[in-house]
Assembly symmetry: C2
């Protein structure tokens, strides 16, 4: 389902930075709008001081690119823009060019749910310079955020060790789509359900809910409020027990659970939303078990993240269902992934690639030239061994070597027979979609199997072992030569 | 313009937590769907360790409420939901009730661009319990985020001391709407322009742009790239000078600026995007001034926020235009405002308000009962002196006193003649919009004038002076009595 077309009633073609359009105008005016270019979208550092990221957002990006067409309103708006002198900012001929523009690029991308690492191109766009440039900002917007949240969700579900994890964050999310696309990405990362009804409708994610404190407050007593809730939902009741006093609330929940049992149904869970969750869950578990309700689940919420879950587990908390909100949907401890989109090569008149890079004082910020692909090497059990970024426009040498992008003394030879897969897959050819978009459960499944292929030391939260990712030796040499040339040292 | 209806092609009525619908079902099933209730939306702590917040998001909330109507798709989806036994989650009669639901509540709200403080209701919803409860999550989603960003923007523009501030954050924003509504809120907070073209189209915010490193990289030399850009934009050129070497870039910009001058136009600005911005801007200013270009502006960007701007100003940086991205649009150092929505009172059969509160171990998390209004007292010059939260359902005493919500020993008598304004204004009456939505420039103007009415010590970033906000003494007594009653101490 093209949910972005359903969700947004308007063209998103102006969802970009103005400089993409001013550059587009410049490319058009200098006769280079259709010169062939290659751009790569990548990030430079794993989020959350972690050892990996889970890429997500491609389906949104696909919908965006499929619908890339300037509407009459868009054209009217662009025509209305004025420069500092009060004249039209853009030539009308250029506006006409935009009006007739349709997307003709090739796009390769790493499938959603794949474990990825710094410097690896998640998306490669090649085609007319103007078009490939124009889509920079929306692609970054869509992929940065969902990759960030899918990664956060993977960490949270890892901490929960198989417990049910639900996403509850809409009220604190960054806007409508900050909620919807966070819920989608959280599901990709491993979260199993959401409170977000619209995400249920749009994406088919299972929805779960309980009641709020206000439900309890509308009744004369907490016990009555539980009773009435159980009458409405005999098979799906989760009682929020902390409106007045948590353990008193548990006792009231037990009273009502007894009546429910007499009427042939069972209380599903209680929920703790404040206080010392370790202590309260242990005491609540005792009360429930002693009263003959060992199957009643204990849900916890209240600003939880992977570190708090891990700490509660370590303290022996008797929580087996986790409701995660703000910390997940805003990626609170690092609310942005710093993905970038850089030019790797430009084709000259003779059809040869001219390799390009952006220098920086810091090597980590210097971009990598080439037409990049990522090759992931596997061991005999399918576990991930190392990733190699290489230039697809050149032949690979027989004796491949991976060089650390920031430390030339770290090199890893690759035996010629090592099994591998190339991660970037064709998505658009000449602007036509050639990729079957996987379903959301398929993507979630892929995340799980990818994470299982990573050594646990890499998934560790504190000081994770760095997974080896490097440039193929020839590409490393090309990059070094270009840097030295720009610095007039070669 | 109803931009949410233009932006979203679909009903947003399911943009809520499932528990709002399960509670709605419970209210309906217990015959209390239409019982009169009052809810208040407020936050408990100023964001960013600051002394104030700027409220925003009301226009989105108004559009949401105006369009609150379950579509056929929504109804179909709700009908499809199943309980744990595989039966329909909701009675079909209830679904019919929802199908025919239209919004009939009263809504009072504090206008966007108003300076607000913890515990003050930003929105008050009164009307049928089911409806007033249902809108909790979307109201929180829309108002929490935009208030957060408007506040961040106010701090950033304060730090910039009158310099032009532009918002550049789309690429790192939290999704499509995380970008669009952040841009809108940033403008409310005082930002003057954006790179976000779609925000320009939707909201009429001025758009600004320059070029990226990739523009430079597509040419044989930096100088040529500047020349060609100047040919396309003779009156609006901002050259990004750090693709290879910043000060070399400034020299190239000067060369091209000379040619532009020969051709009758002037370079608008250069932009620094990396390195030591204090040092580089000072050196760049010298080079530009010595070359006869004292009017060329210096734009800086690169993960800036209010603290970095203040630090750069203190170091004598020669920057007079600021491009602010990630830190602004994600409110990086505190990416969520913890706004809540709590029941204040419920009308009994006799038409009397029954006051309600939610207890907590922490007094700060205990909600305030009543039908709340905020009265702001002013001094003779219109400066803000103190805010009083009072219960509109009761008469005010003649000798008013404000009591600190967390410290009963802090009390402030209010002289009877003190000028004041009540902040909550009618927005909907019986579901009909009765409020003229101000234009965005009007809202921005309001923010500026509100901030000017605050003592500078309250606007300070580090350890701001706390602005006095308290409960009117009778309301404070009501709250205390209710807490003691619930704890069986009275």
């Amino acid at each position: 389902m093209d949910f972005t077309r359903n969700l947004y009633g308007t063209s998103l073609s102006l969802l970009t930075d103005l400089y993409q359009l001013t550059m587009a105008y410049g490319y058009w005016k200098t006769g280079r709008a259709e010169q062939q270019a290659v751009f790569h979208l990548y990030f430079r550092k794993n989020p959350f001081e972690g050892g990996y990221a889970v890429c997500a957002g491609l389906e949104y990006a696909v919908h965006f690119l499929q619908n890339l067409k300037f509407s009459d309103n868009d054209i009217e708006y662009l025509t209305s823009l004025r420069n500092a002198k009060g004249d039209e900012l853009f030539d009308l001929d250029f506006i006409e060019y935009l009006r007739n523009l349709h997307f003709t690029c090739h796009v390769e991308a790493i499938p959603e749910g794949t474990v990825v690492f710094p410097n690896e191109p998640l998306i490669r766009v090649s085609g007319p310079l103007l078009q490939a440039q124009l889509v920079e900002t929306p692609l970054l917007n869509l992929v940065n955020f969902q990759t960030l949240i899918a990664t956060k969700a993977a960490r949270i579900t890892e901490a929960a060790q198989g417990d049910l994890v639900m996403e509850f964050g809409m009220r604190r999310a960054q806007g409508v789509d900050g909620s919807l696309s966070a819920t989608r990405a959280a599901f990709i990362g491993g979260v199993q359900a959401t409170s977000n009804v619209m995400a249920g409708e749009l994406f088919g994610i299972p929805v779960k809910g309980t009641h709020a404190h206000s439900w309890v407050m509308t009744f004369a007593s907490e016990e009555e409020s539980f009773e009435k809730y159980a009458e409405a939902f005999p098979h799906d009741s989760v009682f929020l027990v902390d409106t007045f006093d948590t353990l008193e609330g548990v006792r009231n929940a037990i009273k009502v659970a007894r009546k429910m049992r007499e009427n042939g149904s069972e209380l599903s869970a209680i929920r703790l939303d404040s206080g010392d969750l370790a202590y309260l869950s242990i005491e609540a578990r005792k009360l429930l078990d002693e009263a003959g309700f060992p199957a009643v689940n204990i849900v916890a919420s209240n600003d939880l993240d992977e570190n708090l879950i891990a700490s509660l587990k370590q303290q022996g908390a008797k929580i087996n269902t986790w409701g995660i909100g703000t910390q997940l949907v805003t990626a609170y401890d690092q609310p942005a992934l710093g993905g970038v989109y850089k030019l790797g090569a430009l084709k000259d008149e003779k059809g040869n690639w001219q390799y390009k890079l952006k220098l920086s004082e810091q090597l980590i910020k210097t971009s990598t030239p080439g037409v990049q692909q990522v090759r992931r090497f596997l061991d005999g059990n399918g576990k991930f061994v190392a990733d190699m970024i290489y230039n697809e426009a050149e032949n690979l040498p027989e004796n491949m070597k991976i060089v650390h992008p920031l430390d030339i003394t770290k090199q890893k030879p690759i035996a010629p027979e090592t099994p591998f897969e190339d991660l970037l897959q064709p998505v658009f050819k000449n602007g036509e979609l050639v990729y079957r978009l996987p379903t959301l459960p398929e993507i979630q499944q892929r995340t799980q199997s990818q994470l299982q292929s990573l050594d646990p030391s890499i998934r560790r939260f504190l000081n994770p072992h760095p997974y080896p990712v490097g440039l193929e030796a020839n590409l490393h040499q090309l990059k070094t030569d270009l840097i030295l040339k720009f610095r007039n040292l070669k």
